[in-house]
Symmetry: C2
DNA sequence: ATGAAAGCGCTAACAG
DNA sequence: CTGTTAGCGCTTTCAT
């Protein structure tokens, strides 16, 4: 196996010491212009490029950050990665991606694999299974080892680290308020089981909006979907069935708020099949502004989550922490940044 | 900044040498059971874990592979990453992601950044701009340095490396044949400019299918969209306009083949707005089986690209090459693996 | 059974 | 202006 050019080779062939070469390459004033030129010319000739790994070992930092997400086949996470990558690259960092696939053990394995020196810090959104188990040991361990960590979207209060979230409750409230203002009088919500933090919070926003308008919530209208593997296979059938039943049992439902765009799109599909006209008979608002929302029929009004902003904000916070750690600066208290949401009005509302 | 436990520390505290500790930790027969036990116990106590970076430096391999894609906000690429990650993880590899964002310079920068020792090999799909320029120097350089490289989907013949592709031509042919068999007599194609290899090949398949059925191609029905930034912003307006014109000028078009799902979905939208009934008045088939296809109205018949299979196949080929290189095995000739496509029939065809 | 030493590629303090 | 040396964390050969 051929090996890349090293300082050592350059030194030998130029008949100077390794450190001279090293210094020359960085234009050290210690070195004569003459040698600098010779070294550089030769280095270029042999296409010398420094070995990142050696630098990482030497500097005790890798200039790469690890992002661990539950699922990459998901527009929102993809946007976040994009934001992270953009900011990180601008600061000279690489991004290494780990997929937990919503599984606790995958999350643990991925974190351990990367925590062993491969990365300078983590950006994570928690796997569903981890939220269910409420076992955050691998997080606290990471923190104990003083590896910086910032969580986004699916966060939990017990873990003392920087966080980037969206105001889920408020976003949901805005959505439901809008529905009400546009004339919806009986509004259902399609949400997740409570252990998914964002689902819980969005449900809370829904309830608050109702309360503020003096509307009593109706248990039947709150559909908590067990979204195991939702994005994986055709487990959407379950969802379809539930929506159909909802619409059958409560024919006067004229508004639906869904906590993600997939639920919203499926709901629209079922409603259309049942003869509903959207938005005239039924108005729908989703959460997360992805591909589906833009291209559904009708196009879906939705609460935008600004994934890319979340990503770059998370990267910014993380890199701050890394600097703090590397330079032994005093530790700032952890912060939680809330990215504001906003409603994007499209065809599914009046 | 707190530092992680190292062999050195263990050695000092246990009052043995570093090499003893190292050996004990791997159960070397050279070491007495007694010391092994002591060392291990103490290591566990201090939560010792070997430093990946040091190992990488020592072993001259990183156990991580770099994947560079044009755009992550894209279902197909996302599937590929998933496949790569799955296979790579099973072999103990990590995956580091670089985004070229369809830009030549980003592609170059990303590759250089990673080629400096951070990764053992690349998996790449070429940026649009690179295809336009036809400047593949950074690829050949990488290859010259004997860094293994496998390309997928957007490949070019001039680069001598392993490749994973889909039979674009055949897939397109199947799509168009299907359209014809189901009664479509005048079929348009929505494709990309020719410099995008997959667009070109799919166009070729379209033309062949027509020829095989004795149908003469009509220039007006071949719409080559300049898809700069297509997925970025609302540049879809252009596409919409073109489809509208097509349908206006050729009212007897009753079949559309689109080289990706977005084009297909947009075409359906425009057609529906113009009063067409799909699939009765107009049948549509797309390429790539993503979220949009599944949830469009009507659901979109499409040629599946099997992104995840492509990803894991690419990872498999790459890791083979890495092994070959590391173990100085004789070099196999480069191969091109063709993943077979198949038609998924849904609501947009009869 | 244990340890010393060299080396992976690089930097930097220190000496000359 | 240039070179020697030590060290980042680890493995491995070769003494002892």
């Amino acid at each position: 196996m051929k090996k890349r050019t090293t300082l050592k080779q350059l030194a030998r062939e130029l008949d100077v010491s390794i450190s001279t070469v090293s210094k020359a390459l960085k234009n050290s004033p210690e070195i004569s212009q003459d040698t600098i030129d010779r070294v550089k010319a030769f280095a270029k000739l042999l296409n010398y490029r420094p070995n990142n790994i050696a630098l990482s070992l030497k500097n005790r930092k890798t200039k790469t950050i690890g992002i661990i997400i539950p699922d990459i086949v998901h527009h929102f996470f993809t946007k976040v990665i994009k934001g992270v990558e953009k900011y990180a690259n601008s600061k000279g960092y690489n991004v290494i991606v780990g997929l937990s696939n919503e599984s606790f053990s995958n999350e643990v394995i991925n974190m351990e694999m990367l925590a062993n020196g491969s990365i300078d810090g983590f950006i994570i959104s928690m796997a569903r299974e981890t939220m269910q188990r409420q076992d955050y040991q691998h997080y606290t361990e990471t923190l104990n080892e003083e590896i910086p960590l910032v969580m986004f979207d699916r966060v939990v209060a017990e873990i003392p680290c920087d966080k980037v979230i969206v105001d889920d409750t408020k976003g949901a409230e805005i959505a439901v308020n809008t529905l009400i203002n546009k004339g919806a009088t009986k509004i259902a919500i399609l949400t997740t089981k409570d252990y998914v933090s964002v689902g819980r919070l969005r449900t809370k926003g829904y309830l608050e909006a109702l309360k503020n308008h003096g509307i009593n919530p109706i248990r039947d209208l709150i559909i908590k979907i067990d979204d195991e593997l939702l994005y994986e296979e055709d487990h959407l059938d379950v969802l379809e069935k539930q929506v159909r039943e909802l619409l059958l049992n409560h024919t006067d439902v004229n508004g639906i708020f869904a906590v993600n765009e997939l639920y919203a799109v499926v709901a629209m599909k079922v409603a259309k099949e049942m003869g509903y006209e959207i938005p005239n008979d039924l108005q729908v608002i989703g959460f997360t502004d992805g591909m589906l929302s833009k291209h559904a029929t009708p196009t879906l009004s939705t609460i935008s989550q600004h994934g890319e902003s979340m990503g770059s904000k998370a990267a910014e916070l993380l890199i701050q922490r890394i600097d703090e750690r590397v330079n032994d600066l005093p530790k700032e208290p952890t912060k939680t940044v809330v990215i504001s949401t906003n409603l994007i009005q499209r065809g599914s509302t009046k």
